[in-house]
């Protein structure tokens, strides 16, 4: 059957388009279901050739059945779709695209998220096949799959090698379809098919791999977040309550290795302060299979631990600043802060495996710069009078840096006293703590530190969590209410969020922070006794804030050099081609071409000529310009031109050769002008315009 190949190609185009969702789900999750849908729809279209009117329905049903068997097999009854299957399928049509947009990527390959991709491929197949087989329009048949490609890029753009592979695959399929359905059945030899694909492949590979491309400007994902109910108890208010019941177990930790146990377990990050209360971030997404390591200046190591939550009311799950993956639970994650939130707190004992990225910091953090790009500047409310002055006094006017952050920490540690009880974090209470009583709870220390740091321009945030207990019970650590506390974190360039301890309640428990605590302590130890300005050059690690990038010398110089080379080589080459063309013209056109060639050569050498100058006048002009040999050549040329144009006889080979010999004579004469004039004439592009 002649239709077989075009049908296969249209289906293949739709499959390639479906695989363009790779940034969203990963190729391993997409390949089986997209492949099965493509094979089934293509086969159904070919087999239903005898019932053309029913073909779209048959193909669509076969495709849907294939999707069900691959993705929704658990809901079927021995492979037969049930009511559950239909319900899930309907939700897949309406919701799965949105659930996917609300997830972090790569998303989990679950049916309720993944369903819309094979369904899109199926729709593209059905429409593409009908356009191909009914309307016989192979180009239009690619429109549905191309629409899927566009949609996939609006979801998540392919970059780098993946983009090159996707582009080559789609273009290859389209080219094959074009080749098998050419408008004219002109026979093309096999070598005729080779050059164009090779050139296209080369261009795509070069452009895709060598030309730097920034990330996409827009994704449908950026405006889609999971709506979270605002009715959540602030964990900050819970800390004091928890300290009154110190023995209740909150969660247990079983680390994958003893060395990789962190000292702190952040539960929630409080970033926004309006002068009264602290609020968490609101950018929650479903946690996908894996989060990428943070883009910091230091390498990050992946760590794992098993966590079991014992607290019945808990909706916030113990986490780490840079979570990587969660297994055994399906939480939401705050995409900027790493807090984990379960959607419903029904289950009492949630056990889950947590993986996180731990930045490895070596040496000391002394002299590091702060990093405003990480956030931590969301409001200080309306500070009462005296607070700003206090902040300035605490750091003694030192510029915002990690040094000044440590100085502020030292100031709070030395000047204030920690007490138990309920403090409160609104400005009147903080003012009383800071300016009057000078004693407060750990929450007040942390909150006061954050607002003072923000007043000083240091990005900081408040974190509520637990410290790891010192002793193991059995093979796991049981974290109890007594371990709850709050601490501030400041954003440090190249390292990320660094926890500080203004209350002096540093976790004395076991565990390490990938060297972060040691590095901080080292910087703390190097603090000068009297505040002073930080060094002007804060070390090699202190990256500039990204605004003064080096001037792209190569990007500017290389194109200019290429253009200059093109001019220097292209203009003489064009002239040579022009002369060749003139010489090869038939009849007296070759003689006239010789005349034009001589005229152009003289013009390039600035010999004054007008449009109506005859060859003899040209000879006179050349003689006047001090070119006797050229003038002789021009006189010879004049006689051949007169003969060719006015004798009425067609000039034979001899006359034409004589004319061009005269041109050569003219050029030899022009050599007398010197090298500089000759080079200038050779690259002069003006005579090419005529």
């Amino acid at each position: 059957m002649r239709e077989r190949l075009p049908v296969a190609l249209v289906v293949l185009a739709a499959a390639v388009a479906g695989l363009c969702f790779t940034p969203v789900f990963g190729v391993a999750a997409l390949l089986p279901v997209v492949g099965v849908v493509a094979v089934v729809t293509g086969g159904a279209a070919l087999l239903s050739g005898s019932v053309v009117a029913w073909r779209p329905l048959i193909v669509a049903l076969a495709g849907v059945l294939a999707v069900v068997e691959v993705l929704l097999f658990p809901t079927t009854l021995a492979g037969l779709p049930t009511g559950d299957t239909a319900g899930l399928l309907a939700r897949g049509v309406t919701d799965s695209w949105q659930l996917t947009l609300q997830s972090t990527w790569p998303a989990r390959p679950e049916a309720q998220l993944l369903l819309f991709v094979p369904l899109l491929v199926l729709v593209a197949c059905v429409f593409g096949l009908e356009v191909l087989l009914r309307a016989q329009k192979p180009v239009l048949a690619l429109v549905p799959s191309f629409a899927v490609v566009v949609l996939s890029q609006l979801f998540g753009a392919l970059t780098g090698l993946a983009a090159v592979v996707a582009a080559l695959s789609y273009v290859g399929v389209a080219a094959a379809l074009f080749a098998v359905s050419r408008p004219s059945d002109e026979h093309q030899s096999a070598p005729a098919f080779l050059p164009v694909p090779l050139v296209v492949t080369a261009v795509v590979v070069v452009v895709g791999l060598l030309v730097p491309m920034p990330g996409p400007a827009y994704s449908l994902k950026q405006d889609q977040l999971v709506p979270v109910s605002a009715r959540l108890t602030s964990p900050l208010d819970d800390v004091a309550y928890r300290r009154t019941r110190p023995d209740a177990a909150v969660f247990t930790v079983r680390p994958a290795c003893d060395d990789c146990l962190p000292r702190r377990w952040p539960v929630v990050v409080l970033d926004t302060y309006d002068g009264v209360a602290w609020a968490t971030g609101s950018r929650y997404r479903r946690l996908g299979t894996e989060l990428p390591p943070p883009d910091l200046g230091v390498p990050a190591t992946r760590r794992d631990a098993e966590i079991t939550v014992r607290d019945q009311e808990a909706r916030w799950l113990p986490s780490q600043p840079w979570p990587a993956a969660v297994t055994g639970a399906d939480p939401l994650v705050e995409e900027n802060q790493g807090s984990l939130l379960t959607e419903s707190p029904e289950r009492t004992n949630i056990g889950y495996g947590l993986s996180w990225w731990e930045p490895e910091v070596r040496g000391s953090l002394d002299g590091f710069a702060i990093d405003p790009a990480l956030g931590g500047r969301d409001g200080v409310g309306t500070p009462p009078p005296g607070v700003a002055e206090l902040a300035g006094k605490a750091v003694d006017g030192v510029r915002s840096s990690f040094t000044s952050a440590l100085q502020l920490e030292r100031f709070l540690r030395q000047e204030y006293r920690l007490v138990d009880g309920t403090g409160g974090q609104s400005w009147p209470e903080l003012r009383r703590f800071l300016l009057d009583t000078r004693e407060g709870t750990s929450e007040q220390f942390a909150a006061a530190y954050v607002v003072l740091a923000r007043v000083l321009g240091i990005p900081a945030r408040l974190v509520v969590g637990y410290r790891t207990p010192e002793r193991k019970s059995g093979d796991e650590y049981v974290v109890r209410n007594e371990n709850a506390f709050a601490w501030p974190e400041v954003a440090v360039a190249g390292v990320g969020w660094v926890p500080l301890d203004p209350a002096g309640t540093a976790p004395r428990g076991s565990g390490g922070d990938g060297g972060l605590a040691e590095a901080t302590q080292s910087a703390r130890d190097r603090l000068p006794p009297v505040p002073r300005s930080p060094p002007v050059d804060p070390g090699g690690q202190a990256a500039p804030d990204g605004q003064d990038r080096p001037f792209p010398v190569a990007a500017v110089v290389v194109p200019i050099a290429v253009l200059v080379l093109l001019w220097l080589a292209g203009v003489p080459a064009a002239k040579w081609l022009r002369a060749r063309g003139r010489r090869r013209k038939p009849g007296n056109a070759a003689v006239r071409g010789a005349w034009l060639e001589a005229r152009d050569r003289l013009r390039e050498h600035r010999v004054p000529l007008t449009a109506g100058t005859t060859p003899l006048e040209m000879a006179a002009a050349a003689a006047g310009a001090g070119l006797p040999r050229s003038a002789d050549g021009l006189r010879t040329l004049a006689s051949t031109v007169d003969f060719a144009l006015w004798s009425g006889a067609a000039p034979d080979e001899q006359v034409r050769d004589a004319a061009w010999a005269a041109v050569r004579e003219v050029r030899k004469g022009l050599r007398a002008r010197g090298v500089r004039a000759r080079v200038r004439a050779a690259v002069d592009p003006r005579t090419l315009r005529g």
């Binding site: 180009v139 074009f178 004219s184 059945d185 002109e186 026979h187 098919f193």
Partner: protein, 371 residues
């Protein structure tokens, strides 16, 4: 050189996708746009060279029966000094296209190609001009050049072998026997002895002198054999396919009569009147005329052009036509045939009615009738 619809679509989509890719910084869009633009540019470069060949095209023969094949002869020569890649030559005949794949040609080489031209429709069919085109392997761009003029192919109606049936026409109003074979204007049959009442001008003096008795020439009046065919061209009477059959019947009768050397005359109800003296040229003249005849929508009578007499009259029409007036022509023609297509025509006094569904059947019946 110009882009095909497909090439233009690729160009436009690439430009749009490229603009979207630049605006939104989508690498895949930029790569697809680059691929599309490069493909179009490459296709343009591939088809940039003109088809530079000398082509002569003949159509043989210049007159064919409907349904028969005419032969187009293409001779392609490469006059340039370079190898010519293959191309397609598309010849237009009527509303039909014939495509010839011309293979690559070495410099100076030439190659002949034959192809058949379909002739399903009667009439004058313009053939040509010849379009030489070359496309790139993906159909994005093509270059084409139109060469050669237009020649006219006459598609005659089909002719079936028919009996050259004619009727005599008394030319001299001679009172006596008539001769149905034409040998002269006054045909000498015998010499006989004078009987009272014979005209004196008939006396054959030489024989009288030789025999000594009065001898007279007995002459016979030769009938000039002739066939008149009336073709009904009124559109309401015959549907278009039936009309073609009717034309075929008329062509069969007239051609055989003309080729037999008889006077043949074509009349149509819309006023055509072609009288010929027989012979191959006359046959060609009649067939050319039949080639051009079309149906007329004007209402009129069937026999409006019948103003002559003598010979055999064959009226080709449909069985539904009103043919009663034919019986009024009995005195003017020696024999009258009504060849009716399709329906069963009623009997008309003095007229032989032949009825068949198509031209072949009707001509067959014409051949079977004995007089």
């Amino acid at each position: 050189m110009r882009l095909t619809v497909r090439g233009s679509a690729v160009l436009v989509v690439s430009a749009v996708v490229g603009a979207a890719g630049l605006w939104g910084r989508f690498p895949l869009f930029l790569l697809l746009a680059a691929a599309g633009l490069v493909a179009v540019v490459a296709a343009v470069l591939v088809t940039l060279r003109r088809v530079d060949v000398e082509v002569t095209r003949d159509v043989y023969p210049d007159r064919v029966e409907r349904g028969a094949q005419a032969l187009g002869k293409l001779k392609v020569r490469n006059p340039s000094a370079r190898w010519q890649r293959g191309f397609l030559a598309v010849d237009t005949a009527g509303g039909f296209h014939r495509t010839v794949q011309v293979h690559g040609l070495a410099p100076g080489a030439s190659r002949p190609y034959d192809y058949q031209l379909p002739t399903p429709v009667r009439g004058r069919m313009p053939v040509g001009p010849l379009v030489l085109s070359r496309t790139d392997p993906f159909g994005l761009a093509r270059t084409g050049v139109t060469v050669g003029g237009t020649v006219t192919l006459w598609v005659h109606p089909r002719s079936f072998p028919a009996l050259a049936r004619t009727g005599g026409f008394p030319r001299h109003h001679h009172e006596g026997r008539s001769n149905d074979r034409l040998r002269g204007s006054l045909d000498l049959r015998e010499l006989r002895e004078y009987v009272p009442g014979d005209q004196v001008r008939d006396i054959h003096w030489k024989a009288t002198a030789r025999t000594g008795r009065l001898m007279v020439k007995e002459s016979a009046d030769p009938d000039q054999p002739r066939l008149t065919v009336v073709l009904d061209t009124r559109a309401p009477v015959l549907a278009a396919p039936a009309f073609e059959e009717a034309v075929d019947v008329a062509a069969s009768l007239l051609r055989s009569a003309a080729l037999a050397g008889h006077h043949a005359r074509l009349l149509t109800s819309c006023g055509t009147d072609v009288a010929t003296a027989g012979g191959p040229l006359a046959a060609r003249q009649l067939l050319d005329q039949l080639c051009l005849i079309g149906q007329s929508t004007e209402a009129g009578t069937l026999l409006s052009t019948v103003r002559h007499q003598g010979g055999c009259l064959a009226v080709v029409t449909s069985g539904a036509a009103d043919v009663v007036e034919l019986s009024g022509l009995r005195s003017r023609y020696s024999s009258i045939f009504l060849l009716a297509l399709g329906e069963n025509a009623g009997a008309v006094p003095g007229v032989r009615v032949l009825t068949a569904g198509d031209a072949a059947g009707l001509v067959g019946m014409w051949n079977e009738v004995r007089t």
